[in-house]
Amino acid sequence: MAGNARMFSEHWYRVSDQRVALRAGVRTRRQVYRGEVWRVLYDPFGNQFFRLRPAAYEFVSRLSPKRTVEEVWKECLEIMPDEAPGQSEVIQLLAQLYLSNLLQLDLPPDAQQFFERYRKRKSKERKSYISYIMFARFPLFDPDDLLNVLKPYGKAIYSKIGMLVWLGVIFSAIKVALDNADALVDQSQGILAPGNLFLLYGSLVFIKALHEFGHGLACKRYGGEVHTMGIMLMIFTPIPYVDATSSWAFRKRSQRMLVGAGGMIFELFVAAIATFVWASTGPGVLNAVMYNMMFIASVSTLLFNGNPLLRYDGYYLLSDMLDIPNLYQRSQQQLRYLAEGKILGRPNVKPASPYRGEQITLAVYGVLSGLYRIIVFGGIILFVSRRFLLAGIVMATICVVSWIIMPTVKYVHYLFTDPALERNRFRAIGISLAAAICVVALVGIVPFPSSFTAPGTIVSTPFVEVPARASGYLKGLETPANIAVQPGTTVVSLLDPEWDFEYRAEEAMLRHTDALYRRSLHRDTADLSIIEEHRAVMQQRLHRLRERRDNLQVRVPAGGQWLPGALEDLDGIWVDRGSVLGYVLNPERHQFVAVISQDEARWLFDEAGIRRARIRLRGSAQAPLEATGWRVIPAEQRELPSPALGWYGGGELAVAEDAREGTEAAQTFFEMRVDFDQNEDLSVLHGRTGRMRIRIAPESIWTQASRRIRQLMRRER
């Protein structure tokens, strides 16, 4: 990469007679990158770093107030004719060193200029504050003394033994966690419950503070200095941070990596301890706090800190590991090079690296980190908008503006006005236009498979309800569940203590009437007919009472498989006449009744609309059932086929608040009855719930997305 810059510069006269040198306090460290010896200039007062390639360092190291820049440059040319920087490169180099405050000048200090520069820097800082408000940093105190006190511990921790202990603890914690995997998963449901949020945040701050000390101690351990600790806003959430940049000057790669990993080392250790405590305590505050810590440490390590695709600790680790400093910037540069140089055909763009392997690494990293970023932010937006629609909309708008609209505007501006494209403007515009057309076509025109899902429940066809024909206390099941029954088989018996009294009273009345009748035969034959009528009524009553007694023995009206409702534990409860005690099912045929919301209804009545449907039952999602035929009931419904689908039953459909059974849906829906292929391995039982994915006619991505968004809005209303 030497000597590509121009040998002569027309601006050379500005620096040629200057006498400059590196400032006295500037330290130099060797670092080896890809076999080349680079030097890092480090200014401990300003905490400034500057990385120099070997030839540039040769030049810079020769600078002295006793000689002019020109003299030094000529000397360099003599020593290494081919490697020495050209004039324009020297100018660049000096300018950068000067802007990093690493140069000592022979200029009489010009106070006015100092102030001017100070003012400029301040206003730049203020500006960057505003633009990085989401990630603003507020330095609070200097932890150096504190860390010095802790240094011996740091030494112990970052030693071979310390690391072995660490590994042991981590592995045993993983084992404990695996042993308790189901509890672990269960508890995760409540992690964002409002009641837990405060605890969660508290744990977050605690664990992140330790994380930062991890960095700080590692930095101290190898002789670095740590002078700033403070609070950083991450998406408006205050979190501690520490400035361990002095590690950048560490000579050994492994040391730099250890400082980068220090945070995670601490964090995971804490999480491991928390795992032990969590596993050995019962539900309670302590248990919840420990769980939160485990959760934060593992999630943040996996998704953020440890992940090299975002610019946190993992990124610096990877950067050191690959031996590519400024990985992100250079990957962007490489992508830019590919886009500008290879696609748009702009001349004179240079790849980010002279090595082919590194170029590929950079490009791959650039693409992956870009995708990951989109996925993470997309996920966050979706997650937030499910809970707080407004916040979600705001975030999505910001993202659309800053990721789509602004770059597009900038790109178009670049395309039409950038002087560098002057010669290839036609080609660049052509290619961009073609690409834009492709994207528009892909998003707006080309149909993609489209589908929607609907909840539903399995229903046996036909199925017959078994109602109680009389009221009474539940006495017990006469026939166990899932037994094939003939019509008339008694399945449940009820007990009605009132009946005995009533029956006996009626019998007594009948006997009384009989007695009256017999007496009338002797004396009053005129009354006889009335008494006879009376007696007939009595007998009829008795007959009805007997019928009622019979009905206390609940019999099935039709043959089939007997499926009682949930009665086992309810012995002795009162059952009203007419309430359903169970069902008689047809074990031969089941249908899936899907509840289809109004939003999707238009597909149901379109002949070519539905292409295919597939049912996944809850708990058996891995074995889908293919639908073979379907029928839509062409009237809006309100009564859910099963209470299990409504909110009260743990389902996802909103139900009317005043409905006690929880089967009256808040919104009307359409019912779709679906036949499906039976699957031998799957127990298809009446009442099992599931989801049906209905494949509809292919639609463009744009249509699909806008439909989804409309639905999201409507749901919220």
């Binding site: 000597g3 121009r6 040998m7 006269y13 400059v20 004719p81 000067y98 200029l107």
Partner: protein
Amino acid sequence: MDVPSAEYHRLTVRRPKQLPKGLDALAQSLTGSVDRHSGRTKRLWAQVDEIQKEAEGLENLSDRHLRERLQEHHDAFRRSRGDVPERVPQALALIQEAAFRTIGLRPYPVQLLGALAMHEGCLAEMATGEGKTLTAALTAVLAGWSHQPCHVLTVNDYLAKRDANNFKPLYRFCGLEADCVTADLEPQHRRRAYGAHITYTTSKELLADFLRDRLQLQRVSDPQRRLIRHILRPTLAARESLVLRGLHAAIVDEADSILIDEAVTPLIIAQPRANPMLVEACEAARHVAGKLESGRDYTVDLRYREIKLTDAGKERIETLANDLPPVWRGPGRSQELVEQAISARELFLKGRQYVVQDEKVMIVDEFTGRIMPNRSWSEGLHQAIEAKEGLPVTEPNETVARMSFQRFFRLFPKICGMTGTAWEARNPFWRIYSLPVVRVPTHKPCIREVMRESVFATSEEKWTAVAASVNEIHQQGRPVLIGTRSVEASEKLAVRLEALGLHFNLLNAVRHEEEARIVAEAGLAAKITIATNMAGRGTDIKLSREVADAGGLHVIATERHESRRIDRQLFGRAARQGDPGSAQSFVCLEDELFRRFVPETVRNSLAGVSGGIARKPFLTALNAAQRAAERHAFRGLRSVLATDTWLDESLSFAQDIGGA
């Protein structure tokens, strides 16, 4: 030593604002267009009416009274540093009367309008022959009264001397001293000339003096610090002789040529310094370049005036690199060096870009055809060309100071100007110099007859047609002025005209006085004059009675220029001040504008239908090419400025003398 305040003004240089970027730039160009539509001209016309009302009865005033009243305004202007807008109409009325009494010219209302516009800090667009020099003088009086430095910048030394002498009586009558600075003036005289209230000079002289002054300051440019230094070490102060009085107001004549066309050309103060390394390298590079062939080893890009090495060429250079001095053997360096040698061979042609006189390479200004004796190309190019011509390679000049006109004029707190053609460049004027353009109508309506543009496929056809057209007009006894784009083109035409047996004047690389005379003579009956587009700017072509009756001067443009302004300037030479006249332009597909700014495919398809050439698409393409060229130039201005600004910021330790 001066009083501290004078010293302060002498040394303080305004720090120009940075060019806005992005949305700010959009906002700025919006304010520019709002400003243009804000009815400035209407308001100025109202003021002109006011001036004329004030002027009534002034002719009866005695000289003494007139002087007294002028003096009264003079004092008011001085006290308020020129900021007394309410006095301007009355003052101009008095100056107008003074002008009539001293130099016999009474400004027309349009000239008053121009003066008002310039006094407001605008750029007045006034057609040639509308009396721009008088307009400038009116403005200069107002500016001079403030006693702050006022520089009137003309195109050349001759005009500076002429104008300064012509208007001296007027200035004296108004209580002001005027002087001029020309190239041959000694430093001590310069100091005196710059000391006058109003100084006529050329922009080059002014900038050079500014740079030389700054070099003397030796980096201590802060007035307070200098004061202390001088008190402590009086000998230092005595050794210095700064000539300028500071930068305040500039009235720029032919503003478009200086502020736009030549804006990025830096003025360089240089001294030769031995650089054997470079000299040796140039010789060796010429040798290597001689072994490379166009097409195989490199391609020539005419539009960007660039050489591109092919892969084969790069390999060849690598094998030949051992012939080069060791410093240049690396692939990057050797390619750079050889590329330069090739471009010296391919892009810089003898007779076009330079001539050889007395064993020296002299740069020729492509537009005026003028030889520029003290100029040289930078960064070894000059040496490469010398090597190519087999001349002794001179030591390269070492720059000690340089500054572009663009940056220089942005240092003036008050700048105004006038030119015949500004409207097309209103955007750059506004964006770079914050100069609004005011169009001043002509005094008498213009009756120029612009004939249909003639289009041709090949330059052969074009030149034949031009010669025929010249002959035809010549037969009618009318004078013809033919504008060419380059010296080469004018020679081509000369050959053809000679073949037709016509006598003509060829304006080419001569001294200013003579140039002006030839241009002035171009109005004589049946005279044929060939001149490059820019030659003789600012000189009137006067017509005799007999010529006017025959139909006036006919102007032929033989090519379109990169900027519409320059085409218009040429046409503007015919039919000035209400005279009759006509103009016609001849263009062809092989013109340079086409070659540079129209893609080859378009050119080919135009040529395809060019049996009789389809006028419409042809002209559409031509106009598009011209616009593209203008945009290209504007971008050039901006990017040079951006580079300068970056250098200023990041090299402020190696402070350039332009910075404050």
